[in-house]
């Protein structure tokens, strides 16, 4: 991988001397609960990093706060485990400064769609080249079972003992409603092949790729996805050559919808549909304006800057 970043003395990894195995991306031992869907997502991400041979030190995982936000600790890349809801501004700052780095963002549903909702909307609009994963278990788990925006209506939690009163927020509809959003997909951690294919498509997208990953919490929200896990007929695959194609799961998920990811109106209809849970790429438009590209400025050396400052001071000279 060649990285160029203006004046930065970016090191170019020796030509394929190193080959990174999946194990080369393993960080601390994951401390998620047994049966947590995050384990499967971590495995798929490590597989992706190895498949793409991403240099560990050129890769940064940024997260917020929540169970899923422990993600960076369990990888051997650079990681930024920040504050609740604010992973996207940090990732934006990193990418604006260091376009040579591969930046991934991992958020939970409370993180992304509640406390960080403003950043989520605006990050989609900035369309900075980031791979953004929403690990959506439909519950606040780290704080022990409170209703999140994506918790189903009627679901009993510690803050909604009579069941959640509002219909849940649909992250796909929100994302597809944001001007200049360029990549929106949905997948599920219990279908590793689909998850991996979707992550790979997201990684290859130039712009902000937003992937909602349906993720089971075995402790607090098992019921949220139970029906979908047990009954594949509830799931419909979006298939298209420009989307993800996962032949090996087509035997399980017989319901398939041909969907061209360039069709935004169709993507919005699919996002709003209640008949099935749709997995696949809903929308993709690599031609959307990218904030990190349009804001890039020619770098200056210290000497050049000094000369320019002198000229600038002339404007203010008495």
């Amino acid at each position: 991988m060649t990285a160029t970043c203006g004046l930065l003395p970016v090191l170019e990894p020796a030509e394929h001397e190193a080959h990174y195995e999946i194990t080369d991306y393993e960080g601390a031992r994951a401390r998620w609960c047994p049966g947590c869907g995050d384990h499967s997502i971590l495995a798929s991400v490590q597989k992706l990093l190895s498949a793409e041979q991403l240099t560990p030190e050129q890769t940064v995982f940024v997260s917020g706060i929540g169970c899923s936000s422990r993600f960076p600790h369990y990888l051997r890349t650079y990681g930024f485990h920040g504050i609740h809801g604010r992973a996207l501004p940090v990732a934006t700052g990193i990418k604006l400064t260091r376009p040579d780095l591969q930046v991934f963002v991992v958020m939970g549903d409370g993180d992304c769609t509640s406390i960080g909702a403003a950043h989520w909307v605006h990050a989609l609009r900035y369309n900075v080249n980031l791979t953004v994963l929403l690990l959506d278990n439909g519950i606040y788990a780290l704080t022990k079972k409170q209703t999140s925006p994506t918790t189903p209506q009627g679901f009993v939690s510690n803050t909604s003992p009579e069941g959640g009163v509002l219909p849940s927020l649909n992250p796909l509809s929100v994302a597809l409603g944001v001007t200049n959003a360029s990549f929106v997909a949905q997948t599920a951690e219990w279908s590793p092949a689909h998850l991996y294919a979707t992550l790979r498509a997201a990684y290859h997208h130039r712009g902000l790729s937003f992937v909602r990953i349906l993720q089971r919490c075995p402790i607090y929200s098992t019921a949220v996805y139970q029906a979908a896990v047990q009954d594949p007929a509830r799931i419909a695959l979006l298939v298209h050559d420009d989307g993800v194609v996962v032949p090996e799961i087509e035997k399980i998920y017989k319901s398939q919808v041909a969907h061209d990811p360039h069709d935004l109106a169709a993507a919005r209809r699919i996002a709003d549909a209640t008949d099935h849970i749709h997995l696949g790429v809903l929308y993709r438009d690599p031609s959307r304006l990218r904030y990190d590209e349009i804001r890039r400025v020619p770098p200056r050396t210290a000497e050049e800057r000094l000369t320019l400052i002198d000229a600038e001071l002339d404007r203010y000279a008495v």
Binding site: P9, T92, A317
Partner: protein
């Protein structure tokens, strides 16, 4: 009194200083007139300190006292360090805005007041009545009032006098103060650089009309002779100085969200920053602005964010993260009146405690305050270096007085060493940890993504040297000590502050931020009266500059002077035990155990040296030079 026709130019009265203000309804251009007058005066070599007079609304209804919009210029033969006490000459576009200034006590008792006279004979009887009432109110003081037919004169040249009356006014001031017309024309050309040639020519014609009218009708001239210039100077406001300072420090990313009075830093940078290889990122909110800056710093730079009090409040969680993860960051807080939306366009120094203790938990960081517009420039270089060397947050506390004030200062001689080194992506030495704290100093070398052999995850959770999440009490105790120690190390590198005046006496005033000029002028005037008073001005608020206790011990009384609120002794319910005191006084009492007094005011305007002088007199034995 009225203006008299004087075919022979009157002899100019030579003065060491004069304070001029021009006030109008919002949108009539008094500010532009004042800005040009100030800039030209500075370029002619005069000492200048300017203050904006700003209404709370963009376009308040016309002819109301609260709508007064304008500019005040204190003009001096030598250096001018503050806005002074009162205006000596005011030029007003209507009597209501003038009365507003009178009621605020902004006008000297013998001030000359030039006023648009069309309202006296206005067709609307209510306006004529308002004029008469205002004139009666002004007549209670020995002002010299000179009616000026501004609109009548302007209408001889233009159809709409609302546009351009300010240039006529500028012409009058140019005549009275003998300003260089060519320099004024250059400034007009600059001010209207985005407009057509015709606009420029019309403005110049009105300027000359005003000057000619004054030549004929104004019977006095004022000469404030500039002192000869001994070194090259530049003239700018404090927010421009902060922006230019950030450039000189080699910073490349300013993340911000619009907030008065901080925003003009980003206005300036938005215009020029890209030429210097930098960008202004206008974030979706104050929190995101902090986050983007932290992300940029984490990636290897030192980025900065610019805000005012309410924005500081919103950023505090992120500041804690930057401190905990030891990511360098510079935050500028251009303070305004608070709490809440407070006085958004007015000066106050009431964010000090919030800046020092902003973040929950123990979050040691650096807080500095420039005292002058010149220091606004240089402090950015200092702030960037400290942030980088100490891997921490540096807050720069400016205020509305510095932000919008304009004054000349020695032209900075840039130095490449002021700028950050390029990002070093050399491999991390074998075995080096993410926080390789030096056991003595707590300092460690930062590692940035891209460096082979690093691959750490930084975390806001309590962590050990290796950035591994650690729950044991010993680790948290030690890492807290390491972060805290850095402040002591920084203090060990600072010199004790200089005492202005004698090193001992009856009273020592302590100030911080923009009040330096006013405090030192008050000290000079008091010392001239024989009062044994000195002052100290602090730039470092965290850590405090060393040696304060020793300095304080040489004075019978020590008193802070601040633009923030403190309870008045003697007010209902206020006792020595419950009195809430000035913010710096609070900090100094806690750190020195000296019984420090405070004199603080929140008038929504800069402190006047005369008011500080009164406070000095109240606290010292009279005729003290024993």
């Amino acid at each position: 009194m009225t203006a008299t026709s004087s075919p022979v130019a009157p002899v100019a009265t030579r003065l060491a200083e004069h304070t001029i203000e021009i006030v109008s309804d919002s949108g009539e251009g008094a500010q532009k007139c004042g800005q040009i007058f100030g800039a030209v005066s500075a370029k002619m070599g005069n000492g200048v300190w300017t203050v904006e007079i700003i209404p709370a609304e963009i376009q308040p209804p016309p002819r109301i006292p609260e709508g007064a919009s304008g500019y005040r210029i204190r003009l001096g033969a030598g250096t001018v360090t503050n806005w002074g006490d009162a205006t000596n000459l005011a030029l007003a576009f209507n009597e209501q805005v003038l009365v507003a200034r009178h009621r605020l006590g902004a006008l000297a008792p013998d001030a000359v007041l030039l006023i648009e006279d069309k309202w006296a004979t206005h067709e609307d009887a209510d306006i004529r009545t308002a004029w008469a009432e205002a004139m009666a109110e002004l007549a209670t003081r020995p002002y010299r009032i000179i009616p000026v037919p501004m609109e009548t004169e302007c209408l001889t040249l233009v159809d709409n006098a609302r546009k351009g009356k300010n240039m006529f006014a500028l012409g009058i001031l140019a005549c009275i103060y003998g300003r260089d017309m060519e320099r004024i024309k250059e400034q007009i050309a600059h001010a209207f650089r985005k407009k057509s040639e015709a606009v420029y020519e019309q403005n110049v014609a009105l300027l000359e009309l005003g000057r000619n009218w004054a030549e004929e009708h104004i019977d006095f001239r004022i000469e404030v002779t500039p002192a000869p210039m001994t070194e090259p100077l530049v003239v700018m406001n404090g927010n421009e100085a902060l922006g230019l300072g950030a450039i000189a420090a080699g910073m490349e990313l300013c993340a911000m969200y619009p907030i008065t009075p901080a925003t003009s830093v980003s206005h300036y940078l938005s215009e020029v920053f890209e030429r210097f290889g930098g960008i202004v990122h206008q974030a979706e909110d104050e929190i995101a602005a902090a986050g983007v800056a932290i992300g940029s710093s984490y990636a290897g730079k030192v980025a900065f964010t610019v805000t005012s009090g309410p924005g500081l409040a919103l950023k505090t969680e992120f500041l804690g993260l930057a401190i905990m993860t030891e990511i360098p960051l510079v935050l500028i807080d251009v303070q305004r009146g608070g709490p809440s939306t407070g006085l958004p366009t007015k000066v106050e120094q009431s964010d000090l405690l919030a800046a020092l203790y902003a973040s929950p938990g123990d979050a040691p960081h650096v807080v500095v305050a420039p005292a002058t517009i010149e220091e606004c420039f240089h402090i950015m270089v200092t702030a960037r270096r400290i942030a980088e060397a100490f891997r921490t947050v540096v807050m720069v506390l400016s205020d509305a007085n510095l932000a919008t004030g304009v004054t000349p200062f020695p032209r900075p001689k840039g130095d490449v060493r002021w700028q950050a080194d390029p990002i070093d992506l050399a491999p991390v030495p074998e075995g080096q940890k993410a926080y390789q704290w030096d056991a003595e100093t707590g300092l460690s070398r930062r590692i940035v993504p891209g460096q082979p052999g690093g691959a750490y995850t930084v975390t806001g959770l309590s962590h050990d040297e290796g950035s591994k999440v650690a729950y044991s009490s010993g680790v948290h105790q030690r890492s807290s000590a390491m972060r805290s120690r850095k402040l002591a190390v920084l203090q060990s590198l600072l010199a004790p502050p200089t005492v202005y005046g004698d090193a001992e006496g009856d009273l020592l005033l302590i100030g911080w931020g923009s009040t330096k000029g006013a405090i030192e002028e008050a000290v000079d005037r008091a010392r001239a009266e024989g009062i044994r008073v000195s002052s100290v001005h602090l730039r470092f608020l965290s850590p405090l500059e060393p040696g304060l206790k020793a300095i304080f011990s040489k004075f019978a009384r020590v008193c802070t002077v601040e633009i923030n609120y403190s309870d008045e002794p003697g007010d209902p319910y206020i006792t020595e035990e419950n009195r809430r005191i000035g913010q710096l006084a609070w900090v100094l009492r806690a750190t020195t155990l000296v019984d420090i007094d405070c004199w603080t005011r929140v008038p929504g305007e800069p402190l006047r040296p005369g008011s500080i002088l009164d406070a000095i007199r109240e606290r010292t034995p009279r005729g003290g030079a024993a």
